[in-house]
């Protein structure tokens, strides 16, 4: 390892700790005042100071106490200048004073990040802004970073975040765990925001954009946080397992020349076995709780794929059955496509095509690349080369990733040679 790499790792570690500590303090302040923006304001200078200071000076032994002490000084300065006292600033002063009077109390700052996430993913908040809001409030990413990760103009993203925080403060959105009866649905909103974070990062397979790659890690980190705070919720464990299975295959998605490698052809030696083992254990624990859900099913499908590293072949019968269950749960055409592909593996390409044909009337699939790619592949396998050629053309036209485009072009050239 070079000194430069060492520096970057040190920087990343310091930044990670700063983000965790910052999120915990924002959550604590916001839960008391309901004012997320004020909590962020109160802590933003301290957070910026930590990002500048910790990578050089090292991570303080009590990061939250460090942040609080800086924030308190800044808050006192600001209050002197403006002679105003908002609720967040005075809460912050009280916290800092309590902490200074008892240095060992750092562990006692209650962790309200889950309550904050439930507020951010409240049904009263626009679903599209929930994941960005969680990234900003729980992890302290600025609007520009969040905007570029979600491919939205920074000014638009900034506006939406401000509006959502205003709504939380002004409409009385609560900071607490939902009632038992509402928990599954509310938790689902939190989980899907976390999954959206992960998939945004996952969609940069070449790993060229540091911000987006980072997002996959942050998604996993949030997934770990929720799973550790709600260890009895099988879907929380299921989502974490699902993300870990996917993450385990990150390196195998491209070959040494950067070419796209489909899941079925990946070198299993490049899969991360530690992550797979962790995912298997989580999935096992979740399934023992006896409440099946979308994320557990998707994780189980991943598990049936990665069994190939042991047996040489994915368990396509299990995959087809799991997609059946997932389809009856979600009615999603995307799931139906995957089910058709699994049926093609178990019953032959013609049977898979028959399933795809049943979907051909769905207007949502007209510009959905995986539908056309699956169709092209199955048509080619049944020898319908002219039709396959046309389907490949549509799929190529809809693909945004150059590596996948090249892969599809090669397949297309392949059938033309026959």
């Amino acid at each position: 390892m070079t000194a430069g790499q060492d520096d970057r790792l040190g920087h990343a570690a310091a930044e990670a700790v700063a983000r965790r500590s910052y999120g915990k303090l924002v959550a604590f302040l916001a839960a008391r005042t309901r004012d997320v923006a004020a909590a962020e304001d109160a802590l933003s200078d301290a957070f910026a100071a930590a990002l500048a200071d910790w990578p050089k000076q090292g991570i303080p032994r009590q990061p939250e106490a460090w942040l609080l002490a800086v924030a308190r000084r800044k808050a006192v300065d600001a209050m002197r200048r403006r002679r105003t006292s908002d609720a967040a600033a005075s809460e912050l002063r009280m916290m800092a004073e309590e902490m200074e009077s008892n240095l060992a109390s750092e562990a006692e700052i209650p962790d309200e990040r889950l309550a904050l996430m439930f507020a951010c993913a409240h049904p009263a908040i626009d679903p599209a802004i929930r994941a960005p809001l969680i990234l900003q409030t729980v992890l302290g990413f600025d609007a520009a970073t969040v905007a570029s990760a979600f491919l939205v103009a920074p000014s638009t993203m900034g506006q939406r975040l401000v509006r959502a925080k205003q709504k939380i403060a002004q409409a009385g959105i609560p900071f607490r765990l939902p009632e038992r009866a509402d928990l599954p649905e509310r938790l689902d909103a939190v989980l899907s925001a976390i999954y959206a974070t992960f998939t945004e990062g996952w969609s940069d397979p070449a790993g060229t954009e540091a911000r987006r790659r980072n997002l996959a890690e942050e998604g996993i980190w949030l997934g770990r946080l929720v799973a550790s705070l709600l260890p009895g919720e099988p879907e929380a464990l299921g989502l974490l397992a699902l993300m870990l299975y996917a993450e385990a295959r990150r390196q195998a998605r491209r070959d040494a020349h950067g070419a796209y490698v489909p899941l079925g052809e990946q070198d299993t030696g490049r899969w991360d076995t530690d992550l797979i083992a962790e995912a298997e254990a989580l999935l096992h624990a979740a399934s023992a709780m006896g409440a099946l859900g979308r994320y557990q099913l998707e994780a189980a499908i991943q598990s049936a794929h990665v069994v190939r590293r042991l047996t040489g072949r994915a368990d396509w019968h299990a995959i087809a059955r799991l997609y059946d269950a997932l389809f009856s749960l979600t009615q999603s055409p995307v799931v139906a496509i995957n089910r058709a592909v699994a049926i093609a593996e178990t019953d032959g390409p013609a049977a898979g095509l028959e399933q795809l044909d049943m979907l051909s009337q769905d207007p949502r699939l007209v510009d959905y690349q995986p539908y056309w790619a699956a169709r092209a592949d199955l048509l080619a396998h049944t020898g319908a080369n002219a039709e396959a050629d046309r389907a490949y053309e549509v799929a190529i036209g809809l693909e945004s990733d150059p590596a996948v485009r090249r892969f599809l072009e090669q397949r297309r050239t392949g059938i033309r040679g026959q």
């Binding site: 409409a171 009385g172 609560p174 939902p178 009632e179």
Partner: protein, 116 residues
Amino acid sequence: MKYMLMIYNDEEKVRAIPKEDANKMMPAYVAYTEALKKAGILLGGDRLQFSSNATTVQIRDGKTKVLNGPYAEAKEQLGGYYLIDVPDMDSALSWASRCPGASSGTIEVRPIWSMQ
């Protein structure tokens, strides 16, 4: 916090309801109003007449314009409201979901602007 629960309904459909069915709706609203009172959260509420009885007033360039009809043509019209005082949005949403109007129309839950 104070919230207004605004009950929106398609008036054409409401007018088309046979009288005996309409009479069945009344006890549901009476029971709901009673429940709000018992919970100690009801500040006020009323049913509004049909929007065909609405008249709008505007002053533009110093001239008063009085027009027949509601402000906006919409599929659903405001047909009534409740004003309630509850701890938070979740509580307001759960009361809104119990309102008889929620099963035929739409309840808009609006926080009241607080002066503090």
